[in-house]
Symmetry: C2
Subunit: 191 residues, 2 copies
């Protein structure tokens, strides 16, 4: 490994946000999932959580430009499992969901441990996540079309999470535990 | 036309931002262009400008969820033409471009007339736009992957433009000229 490569891996691991994640509710289009993983890597997310549609647990492929290598995907059998598991670890659950109760996505606090829930391309966020979420968040839309592409919506929300976290210095301190940090370093360095 | 439909068309036209646009530099993947048009509609952009790759002037198709209907696409023969035309109308040109001189995309002023230049999926922004732009803007990236998908980058930047414009009330006053407003109303109402 070159010194440059070593430096790049270490800097990226130093910035990883162990307490920021996403949870997909039956998203299924491979290119949306690939784009989502690429965005997750870019904002420093180490782990993503996924619930596949009933029966259809299929691995994502597609062109995330190899970013699958840098982000760990965890699957859950149901949204209840996924949400309860994250909540037990102290995460706030923000569902990106076009509901009556939704608040502006910029008004919630992404500096605390939190997970952004993203819905299925057609049906959106399901009833379980809708009721279990702490908040529904919405990106205001000014045009004729009623929703964003899900990977676009995710990027807009995660860019705001990144902005808030940068503002309070969360990218300037290491958040991965030592164990996880060196385990990832090992995996990244020895493909 | 139902009263609800009438109201929706009028409200959307009231919010259209006549002096915010994008200019694509040989972007070519139909699904990226479709996603871009959908995002443009959502932030209230009325017109987009495009330069196709040499020889390959092809109409975009794909699933913009019908948003092509709400956003007018103008093509230019070259980036020099496109940029100079916009500049003559008083637009600032912000190239989304990963260069040494690039400033943070949040540090520029999107409340003035401006165009965001987006680059080709592989080559990025070309040399002409690079040199003619007023500013290069960059979305900071914290991960291993070196760039965003172009339609994702566009959405992150345009969401910031929308935020700035909302903050100063630009969505609360009509910016289309009467002529354009009623021409669009006519087209939208009578497909
Ligand atoms: C294409 S949308 C699904 C639309 C679906 N018809 C609905 O009404 O929920 C897919 C997902 O993208 C996210 N999304 C899209 N536009 C959004 C917006 N303006 N605000 C928040 N989330 C949005 C949500 O997670 C949504 O479930
Ligand atoms: C996939 S990128 C092209 C990457 C190309 N290899 C380069 O270095 O320019 C396609 C376009 O998306 C936009 N883009 C992607 N990531 C960006 C970022 N972090 N900041 C600003 N623009 C970005 C730019 O307009 C870029 O030309």
């Amino acid at each position: 490994m070159t010194p440059e490569r070593y430096k790049r891996l270490r800097e990226t691991l130093d910035r990883r946000q162990s307490d920021l994640t996403i949870l997909t509710d039956q998203m299924h289009k491979p290119r949306n999932i690939a784009a989502l993983i690429r965005t997750a890597d870019a904002v420093g997310i180490a782990d993503v959580h996924m619930v596949w549609s009933a029966g259809a647990r299929r691995p994502y492929k597609g062109t995330a430009l190899g970013s699958q290598r840098w982000v760990k995907a965890h699957t859950h059998d149901s949204m209840a499992d996924g949400i309860n598991g994250l909540r037990q670890q102290g995460y706030q659950i923000y569902a990106a969901h076009l509901s009556e109760q939704a608040v502006n996505f910029r008004s919630v606090d992404y500096t605390r441990p939190c997970a952004v829930v993203l819905g299925n391309e057609k049906q959106g966020v399901g009833a379980v996540a809708e009721s279990l979420a702490d908040e529904h968040i919405i990106i205001p839309m000014m045009g004729m079309v009623e929703s964003y592409n899900v990977s676009v919506a995710a990027a807009i929300i995660l860019a705001e999470a990144q902005r808030q976290r940068e503002a309070v210095g969360q990218y300037n301190r290491v958040s991965l535990t030592d164990d996880v940090y060196w385990q990832l370093f090992f995996e990244w360095a020895h493909p």
